[in-house]
Subunit: 383 residues, 2 copies
Amino acid sequence: MKIGVIGTGLTKFGEIWDKSLRDLLAEAQLKSLEEAGISPKDIEMIFTGNMCAGALSGQLHIGAMAAENLRLNVPSTRVEGACASGALAIRAGIAAIESGAAKIVQVNGVEKMTDVSTEQVTTALMGAGDEEVEGFQGATFPALYALMARAYMQEFGLTREELAAVPVKSHKHGSMNPIAQYQKELSIDDVINASMVSDPLTLMDCSPITDGASSIILATESIAKKLNNDAVWVVGSGQASDTLALSNRDSLSEIKATRFAAEHAFKQAGITARDVHLAEVHDCFSIAELLAIEGLGLAKKGEAGKHAAAGHHYFDSKMPINTCGGLKSCGHPIGATGVKQAVEIVHQLQNRAGKRQVKKAEVGVAQNVGGTGATVVVNVFKR
Amino acid sequence: MKIGVIGTGLTKFGEIWDKSLRDLLAEAQLKSLEEAGISPKDIEMIFTGNMCAGALSGQLHIGAMAAENLRLNVPSTRVEGACASGALAIRAGIAAIESGAAKIVQVNGVEKMTDVSTEQVTTALMGAGDEEVEGFQGATFPALYALMARAYMQEFGLTREELAAVPVKSHKHGSMNPIAQYQKELSIDDVINASMVSDPLTLMDCSPITDGASSIILATESIAKKLNNDAVWVVGSGQASDTLALSNRDSLSEIKATRFAAEHAFKQAGITARDVHLAEVHDCFSIAELLAIEGLGLAKKGEAGKHAAAGHHYFDSKMPINTCGGLKSCGHPIGATGVKQAVEIVHQLQNRAGKRQVKKAEVGVAQNVGGTGATVVVNVFKR
């Protein structure tokens, strides 16, 4: 597989009170078109990832909205897999091109979350879990990930300080990313002493509520080569599923679907974990980043926390992780996250990542998770 | 394009109070597997259409649920385009096969609507329109389609009696379909004298609130030929978009996206409207059926009402339409509808439609609409 990314677009991430769901989506769409140097009429299909607009804006049918924003009548579809919606939209775009149905596709992600109360957001997000088994019992996502963190700490002896190294690194990266929601550094103490959300996770272990949108343009190899002499290539894509409810899993200390998705994506890309120069992973909570790194094979089981504490995941260290600031510091507009991860990898591979530029980055991986790991997508990008 | 439908599954449609969203989905999934004579592990990817489970059951992430129901870890994705979600899932399944990513795919549709109040359902359904322009102003779907009906009556002189012929025919067909929500015939007077919902549409012009699920198994041509010597083939698929809000359209008396989607699908299938033997169309409201028939080119503009009144759309007449009873009589579990349309066409082409069997049916078309026509999918099936 070799599909070109010929344009990227991101809005600012944060509390964007002066822009609507539609405004955010349109802004990212127009930016990716501008960067690709093409006009709306060149787009043959559109796929958009969104999770919560039904609950938070009363708006479903985001596919039609994305087409209308470009004044197009082309096929335009929303895909949803909770927090993995963005990467699922990328996969739909890949399938459209690989099937021959389209040569140039726009893939977007969008979420507008700050217009309603935190309670409404928390309730809507529980749609990612198992409503009957988890939501109905009062479980929320911080609580579910806290269970995973506790199980992992128990099994592998991860310390609170090692876990706190994850958001500290994310905020360092976020401080160097102009679109990030939070551009301020944190200390280990800041993380540990922040208000407790669900033991052991404090507020600084939890990704925030964010507005934002993201967009990329995908094209066949021949068109990409014609339009962009610095195109980045999607060379592998994997997706896997697991039970919605944590209680139905064999283990709480791994996200098995990451392993399955990575195996498929790496095989398709013809790489192994050793070939990966940087990764964007789904750090909705600090523990999730460690599970992702291990699921991708970038660390042995139980060792990712030590690597984090040793500073290996900084942009200028051994294995740069979440150079954009991750979900924690860049922000987590749910549907937009998976596409934003792709944008960050593309910018790094194109040497456009400014102060947080990784040296000699040629292979990048994006891992996007829905729920507590019921859906995982892994996409591999190459220079 | 030639993709085989090798299995179908439908639950009963109606107020199914003893089954949950998950139960309904699982039932349809298992039925389609059983009919195809394959086991869950033969399924390589799953796509599921659903619109409202987030709002009505607090459950998003239906893709993962569908995989879990079959105890599979394969890629499984929810697609949503309002009431066209089911047919969009079929298109996603087609793309998966055409791209070479999978050889056998399960496509499902599901909706669980009767556990909450009618007001909650009406509000959730408005997510299909434009929330800012229509929903926020208090418009509901009966009101929007009533505007289209009025415009059409004004322009083409359609009478109230001609319009009423649509649900009368649908209920006749529904009375012959064991899974239909309503199996009772109606008269023209019953329709006209029913309680007014939004002038000129009475309660009997409006599709009901329904629980139900539907499933089909798609396979490559060679696998389909091996597994099923009576496979029906998907030979064309088209999708088009239009503005979310009615007020941004050029005309209220046509659904332009149907025309665009049909042009593409018919061209791909190598047919014209004259080759079509029967059609399942999206009669969410009586007027929508007439707009669909004309959009597909099965009647000239302004003439579908006369054909309806003349009885041409009965299963044993010139151009059988909605032989399952349509959304009106068979019921309209939103996400399930598009896949159920495919199931009805497949059963007709396989000579399995019982009392309502169309004679010499070889080419069938399914048209599925999201919102007031902001998304339309047209799929063409051949024996």
